[in-house]
């Protein structure tokens, strides 16, 4: 999933300072799962904003709404009846959702209320870690199912650097060495010979080096 964290209240307040009527939008997908921008977080942010504005002596009218999927035009259409009564939109979805709104409602200011972080998964309750950088040419089949691009601090594709110590990456205590994990997996799978194959220099075009990426499925595209 795509992970996110809420922006500091001050930053959000600064964005919406000139506006009175705010449409505050959550999303039911990833940001709900990582507790950054679902229905519950929308409620919490709304009261935070209201209290701050009250203290400043300026009133604010916040309409709360949470879409099934903010990155999907079909669900964004739901907003048509409410958009005119808002001066600005504040989105708690990831960057994809925010942009979907900006493209659909061209004359309406749209602001992000979260920082979109990374594609990751949950390690344990309340902890998410990065897993994938969307390189467009997945290598997991060669690396025991552990990503050397997203999980190695140097994107190394051919084994651990000289800083790997006791399973921990040279950058610090809290980060596992990806190559240590890969090696343990290859051992467990009886695939240690695979390590000796040199992975050639990567083509970064599918990873974004070729410019903004696009998928066109002829069988589905209208």
């Amino acid at each position: 999933m795509i992970t996110a964290e809420r922006k500091p209240l001050e930053e959000i307040l600064a964005y919406i300072k000139p506006f009175k009527r705010i449409l505050l939008l959550g999303c039911n997908e990833c940001v709900t799962v990582c507790a950054a921008g679902g229905r519950k977080e929308v409620g919490v942010l709304a009261s935070g904003l209201q209290m701050s504005r009250l203290k400043d002596g300026s009133s604010i009218d916040i309409r709360e709404h949470t879409l099934e999927r903010q990155c999907d035009p079909e669900y964004v259409e739901e907003l048509v009846p409410m958009i005119d009564s808002a001066d600005a939109v504040l989105s708690m979805a990831c960057g994809c959702g925010v942009q979907q709104l900006a493209m659909r409602f061209r004359d309406k200011p749209v602001f992000p209320a979260v920082n979109t972080k990374f594609m990751g998964g949950s390690d344990r309750h309340g902890v998410w870690t990065e897993r994938c950088q969307g390189c467009g040419d997945c290598l997991l089949g060669l690396t025991g199912g552990i990503c050397p691009i997203a999980k190695c601090a140097k994107h190394l594709m051919n084994g651990p650097c000289g800083g790997s110590a006791g399973g921990v990456c040279e950058i610090g205590d809290d980060v596992d060495c990806a190559w240590h994990l890969i090696w343990e997996r290859l051992k467990a799978l009886g695939l240690t010979d695979q390590y000796m194959e040199i992975m050639p220099a990567k083509d970064w075009r599918p990873a974004g080096g070729g410019g903004p990426r696009k998928i066109i499925r002829e069988d589905l595209a209208e």
Partner: protein, 308 residues
């Protein structure tokens, strides 16, 4: 002979090679480079010029290498994949060769986290093994990494790589060396060796795979200046293995005597490593202590250097 490299000639003739390093300054002074390098003149076969060592901005390895070359010495151009993409690196390889540099070391580099620009992007377009492959392809196939032909003069680099026998997972460290050799490494400079037992164990594995016959292994040596330096390397430098007994030994003598003790340890290490089959020479990293290298080389009976 694959190249014109003096280091290759010395090694191919069967001599124990000696290299050392010179870290360029954090400023634009050519004199500083020349002054440091002068300590090594005639004492070593090649001088490593580090590339933004520990992720701190310094004068470029390329410029440092040219300055050393202009003194009639043999620079060993270090290149990390952290700071530049494959276009920039290939451009530098062509430029370096055009200016008389024929020996280089391919590294991934310390993470930017450790340096003075932790906010900088880590490039890592390619990794150190892919860099070795790229330099070899330029030399042996006269082709750029992207596949196009190199026009005119082909850069013939003697290709070095690093190995750290003390990093984890230990069982992977020999295989990692094998992979670097398969990619095209001609010689290896190891991490500083303090834990000799562990190094010998690694070398056993190296010989077990016959790797010492496919590539020259230069053992990394660092003289410790003080007990503080020993402790710092033990606790703070990623990938270093300094046994407690060495720290204790450094601490057991008076402060003024510690530099001498450090040199003694270093000489004892060299003597012991000379007995290890497969060690083809020494890479002496006397960090900010270049003036001691001549003494070490002489006392270790590695002087005079062969006139290859």
């Amino acid at each position: 002979m694959k190249t014109e490299s003096k280091l290759e000639k010395v090694l191919a003739a069967g001599h124990l090679a000696v290299t050392s390093e010179c870290g360029p300054p954090r400023g634009a002074s050519a004199e500083t480079v020349i002054e440091k390098a002068k300590y090594l003149d005639g004492v070593v076969d090649a001088v490593n010029i580090t590339d933004n060592q520990t992720a701190m901005v310094r004068m470029s390895s390329f410029a440092g290498s040219v300055l050393v070359r202009q003194q009639g010495m043999n620079p060993l151009l270090q290149m990390v994949t952290r700071d530049r993409n494959r276009l920039a690196m290939q451009a530098d390889i062509l430029g370096a060769y055009a200016l008389g540099i024929n020996t280089m070391l391919c590294l991934s580099g310390d993470h930017t986290r450790f340096g003075d620009h932790p906010m900088a992007a880590n490039v890592h377009d390619i990794d150190s093994i892919q860099l070795i492959q790229m330099v070899k392809k330029m030399r042996d196939e006269a082709k750029f990494q992207g596949g196009a032909d190199i026009k005119g003069v082909v850069p013939k680099m003697f290709i070095g790589a690093a190995a750290n026998p003390f990093a984890d997972p230990f069982e992977l460290r020999v295989m990692r060396l094998a992979k670097k050799i398969a990619a095209g490494a001609d010689f290896i400079q190891t991490q500083c060796i303090f834990n000799i037992d562990k190094f010998e164990k690694w070398m056993e594995g190296v010989r077990g795979m016959g790797l010492h016959k496919k590539c020259y292994i230069l053992a990394g040596i660092t003289p410790m200046k003080s007990v503080g330096a020993a402790r710092y390397m033990k606790n703070r430098v990623p990938g270093m293995d300094v046994p407690q007994e060495l720290v204790d030994r450094m601490g057991s003598v008076d402060k003024e005597k510690q530099p001498e003790e450090g040199i003694d340890i270093c000489l004892e290490t060299i003597e012991r490593l000379k007995q290890v089959e497969g060690v083809a020479g020494f890479h002496i990293m006397a960090i900010d202590w270049e003036e001691k290298v001549a003494e070490i080389v002489k006392r270790a009976n590695l002087y005079p250097r062969p006139q290859a």
